[in-house]
């Protein structure tokens, strides 16, 4: 079972909450302070992508984030429920088309590029039920003091 699980409505304003919780749990799990910025950014990118996929596909269900503390590593799984075809569409980067309200989905691929650049251990899977981004970092839990 995950150490901490989050489920949040697929709205941009909740991505920050996911970042803060993930960083707090990662710190407690013993992830190096120097790496916490990467954890925060990577989980933010994964959640942003999931929110974009849910919004653009009209998926009402929440985005899932599982924070898993193991003996020597800390893992994060971010799951969406957008069908695979939606997640693998090649989209143009950047914010074009003036007047378009949002370019959330256009940044999905740049988000993946950031995750791939940041995280050594990352696995991205998707099927017709949705996708999951799994990422992990080394962790060394602090000894419990008497």
């Amino acid at each position: 079972m995950a150490t901490v699980e989050l489920r949040f409505s697929a709205l941009p304003e909740h991505v920050r909450t996911a970042r803060l919780v993930a960083a707090a749990v990662a710190r407690r799990a013993g992830v190096d302070e120097a790496v916490l910025d990467e954890v925060r950014l990577a989980v933010g990118e994964a959640c942003t992508r999931a929110v974009g996929l849910h919004m653009s596909n009209g998926v009402d269900s929440p985005v899932r984030v599982a924070l898993i503390e193991d003996e020597k590593k800390f893992s994060i799984e971010v799951g969406d429920e957008a069908p695979a075809a939606a997640g693998t569409l090649v989209r143009g980067a950047g914010d074009e088309a003036p007047g378009r309200p949002s370019d959330d989905e256009a940044d999905g691929e740049m988000g993946l590029a950031v995750i791939s650049g940041l995280v050594d251990d990352v696995e991205i899977t998707a099927d017709e039920k949705g996708g999951v981004i799994r990422m992990s970092w080394p962790a060394a839990p602090a000894p419990v003091l008497p």
Binding site: E45, T48, D95, D107, A113, V114
Partner: protein, 113 residues
């Protein structure tokens, strides 16, 4: 921490001072600000990111969008940033080759190439 934005003019440059977090929620505000400046005829922008605590790919997308807009008017968009954790995101995405990044607002304002 939300996003804070303020603008001021130095010569023909418009300085956009950004503070706080630029992410999927706040990036639209930055986009609106950049679009408004370009629509009002400010084509030489300096985005001061020294007060930015967090930047993600959504924010990068908005900056790239801003760059394309000013370039359409033969303008420029320069960044001011000394923070390693922010610079790292530009490096990972290869955007250090796209944006002129300066160590201070003074440098960015006096830069001409």
């Amino acid at each position: 921490m939300d996003l804070s934005l303020s603008t001021r003019t130095v010569g023909d440059r418009t300085i956009v001072e950004v503070g706080g977090e630029i992410d999927v929620y706040t990036a639209p505000k930055l986009r609106e600000q950049l679009v408004e400046l370009v629509n009002d005829g400010s084509y030489h922008l300096v985005v001061d990111m020294e007060g930015v605590d967090f930047l993600d790919s959504t924010g990068l997308g908005v900056l790239v969008g801003g760059l394309k807009r000013v370039r359409a008017h033969e303008g420029s968009l320069r960044l001011v940033c000394n923070q390693e954790r922010i610079l790292k995101i530009f490096r990972i995405t290869g955007l250090t080759k796209v944006f002129p990044i300066h160590g201070s607002v003074d440098d960015a304002v006096s830069a001409t190439d």
